[in-house]
Symmetry: C2
Subunit: 494 residues, 2 copies
């Protein structure tokens, strides 16, 4: 059991972070990358003991947690490589032209860090989106100190991972205050952290209500700050007619696995499947239901999430015109999520906004549209989503341009004949999407492009080569990509 | 005299823009660029008649307005070139790896437009930051329709430039609704535009109170949207001791010209000059005052701005411990800005937040610090700025790292031995800065990087080459820079 940080404690932590910021932001890309690699090594060195503690705190299975730690280490090492590569700095140089009227000065621009970043640990990713997770890695790469608000559901895990970061910081001679770990189950702790004058950005993965609250606080400050909240979505899946005709049962099987993966506790869980009334759709629904019946309930992350799932599931199933298609036939214990498939007509869905909301857990609703026009209408009634999926043949795509364009317009990742669960860590990933999936559709929380969330450009005008930062000097000794007089190049300037 | 648009009229305009968006966003980069070039040509073709109308509406001199139109045409043509070049799309491709566990899908990411953009005309740039100005050019390049809210102080100018855009749209077969022009002197018109569900971003250049209001509305919407407000700043100039010793009088002369340029009506006007008590500082102040005395008052943009200048100047000059150093000795007429230099001690400045505020017009205050420590304290008391300038020798820079770092941390453009007025239009320019200079320090409103304000990434997962957008297809027929499997290249994919 850990105590919530007091306001005085938070002030001390933030003052230290502010001092550390002024030192750390002058560290080279290589020094930042080495620090991140050291964190990765310390995290790996925590060994099996850590895995067993996380299992106890989160109810997640061992294999999943081993995989998630490996993923977290990959995030740290691959973002470290991206940090050192320096392309993310968006270095641009326009050399002087004294002959122009008026004379054109030498101008050189690059990204610099925003300042201390507060990261809220996510309950569903105790490693990958918590203490040493993606937001932390991106902030360190950008040149920002990090203050973690531990998720109370895995506070001990968070404490151990924080220890690993602090050991890495010591080994790499990082300034005191580069990283801090704060506990807090109360709303007040979170609010104090977001509202503190030295906080310059916030990273969050979790519920809509939590993320929206942080976003509002961030905007209500005397100096508003960016709050990057990834708040989940229902991740609609559209079953197009030709493809469904070809393989209804096969798709149902794949989707049953996706709906129940990790007890449905992923932000990319497919919570909404939309088809057009037909024999094939009936085959799909029956096959999906059959799979779900044989899928066993499992314990959810913590009692709060299990309770919320039970309530939201119950509320969804008792809405007018909603049919319960299938429920797991295995017995369920306390705090377990019961795999469930519901169904409703297109009109029922359009008329009832409650059916658009996420039921976080192993639940999905199949919407039966009367025709393609109704499917388009459904798509136009959807809010912003992290992902949207088309299950479609090439003909389906070519013949339904209006639907394809409408769906493309609401999502951050647009998937064809695949499942939304499974978020690859790479530069081309976009894990974000229009509001309310996130608070800022222009940034990703997975992949090294996430570094840019915590940086802003600065332009140096008329500085001599000797006084410029390394990244902008004529000689380009660190060999980064730069745009010089509109040409992208690694060349030096003669 | 033009009537404010009614709510019904705004609904019609926004519905058309929304329809146009779904067509325009599929237009190729070349089609967008051609449209922008056509606007530039139409703007040039408006000829001298337009210049004379703008002179009448804004009181700005002919040469300045001819220059500003040329700049606006350059913005349109250079952003068109950047649009077509496609580097701004941040295209990233990671090819599939079916052998990986789990199999890695093909992932391809690029920027897509946000949707209709509302742009508020700026009173101080009737061409460059109004109807066909930088925000409009960036939005069209990004693939967004534009709705202009004309600035009431140059409504006729705006009407004529809007006509040029509409003629270009017709010539280029743009969809109906790609551009709309709305009048509105009332707060209600602006609010209706920002709050409309089809508005997806806002561009604004103007006062802090105006920009902050738009920002708050944008965040209070059911679906919050980005509001890019550039709200000006005092643009501090730090006079470092060695450099000041070398050339106090010369610097004073250059700065007198910068303070009074365009009757001080630039967001980058140097409103705050900070030195250390010394004989040289006295020489600087005396020389600056002498120049200002001989600088004639001139008519400001409109009576509202002249009134605000007179009031804020009066208020600043009557603050405790503020000395009036020099005032123009020429007679002034109604609505003219009177060139003025004031002075105060470092402590007086630190203790009185009112002295930190912008007095928009030909006014500047010189702060006399007792030593370098007080100068550092002043720098740490400043809010975010568009620009900050050091007047410094190489020794000054090397010996005063704490000051240099503190100043760097609060500005968007960091200038050495130059004046902040004069904002070059090029890729390396950053016209932005930490709040309250702008509402989002991560984006610029000058230079082609401003295009990114109006776009967001989308990732295509598992799409066949035939179905992908042109920009992400294997063959790279349009020859753009893309990052393929972490390598930046123009190569096609075999």
């Amino acid at each position: 059991m850990f105590n919530d940080a007091t306001v005085d404690e938070i002030n001390v932590v933030m003052d230290k972070a502010w001092k550390a910021f002024h030192l750390y932001r002058k560290f080279s890309l290589k020094q930042r990358a080495d620090f991140m690699l050291a964190i990765a090594a310390e995290l790996a060195a925590c060994g099996d003991d850590l895995i067993f503690i996380v299992m106890k705190e989160t109810n997640l299975p061992e294999a999943r947690l081993r995989g998630e730690r490996t993923r977290t280490i990959f995030q740290l090492t691959s973002y470290a490589a991206a940090c050192e590569d320096g392309t993310w700095l968006d270095a641009r140089i326009d050399t002087a032209d004294p002959g122009k009227t008026p004379p054109k000065p030498d101008l050189r621009k690059m990204l610099v860090p925003l300042g201390p970043v507060v990261v809220f640990g996510a309950s569903n990713f105790p490693f990958a989106y918590s203490t040493a997770g993606g937001d932390t890695a991106c902030a360190f790469a950008a040149g920002c100190p990090v203050i973690i608000k531990a998720h109370p559901a895995h506070a001990e895990t968070s404490e151990i991972v924080a220890g690993a970061i602090l050991r890495a910081a010591k080994k790499c001679n990082m300034p005191d205050g580069i990283f801090a770990h704060v506990h807090g189950a109360s709303v007040e702790t979170g609010k104090s952290l977001v509202m503190h004058q030295h906080t310059k950005a916030v990273g969050f993965t979790g519920s809509f209500s939590g993320g929206k609250q942080l976003f509002d606080w961030g905007n209500q400050r005397k100096e508003p700050i960016p709050v990057f909240a990834e708040m989940g979505s229902v991740n609609p899946v559209f079953l197009l007619p030709e493809k469904l005709k070809q393989s209804a049962a096969e798709i149902a099987k794949i989707y049953a696995a996706s709906v129940t993966l990790g007890v449905g506790q992923f932000c990319t869980n497919p919570g909404l499947i939309i088809g057009i009334e037909s024999d094939e759709l009936q085959i799909f629904i029956a096959a999906l239901g059959e799979e779900i019946k044989h899928n066993a309930p499992a314990t959810m992350l913590h009692p709060g999430i299990a309770k919320a799932f039970a309530e939201k599931r119950e509320k969804a199933l008792t809405q007018k015109d909603v049919i319960t298609v299938a429920v797991s036939e295995s017995e369920s214990k306390e705090n377990q999520g019961i795999p469930t498939i519901a169904s409703a007509s297109g009109q029922a869905f359009i008329n009832n906004p409650l059916l658009h909301q996420e039921v976080f857990g192993p639940y999905s609703i199949v919407i039966r549209c009367k025709d393609m026009n109704e499917m388009i209408e459904v798509s136009k009634n959807l809010e912003g989503q992290l992902t949207a999926t088309l299950i479609a043949s090439e003909n389906d795509i070519r013949n339904n341009d209006e639907l394809v364009e409408a769906v493309k317009n609401i999502c951050g990742r647009f998937i064809l004949n695949n499942v939304p669960t499974g978020v690859e860590v790479c530069l081309s990933m976009h894990h974000g999407g229009p509001y309310p999936a996130t608070t800022d559709s222009r940034f990703t929380s997975v992949g090294a492009d996430g570094i840019k969330r915590f940086a802003r450009p600065i332009c140096f005008q008329n500085w001599g080569n000797d006084l410029l930062p390394q990244e902008l000097k004529n000689e380009n000794a660190i060999n980064i990509w730069r745009t010089i007089n509109t040409e992208l190049t690694k060349n030096s300037i003669q």
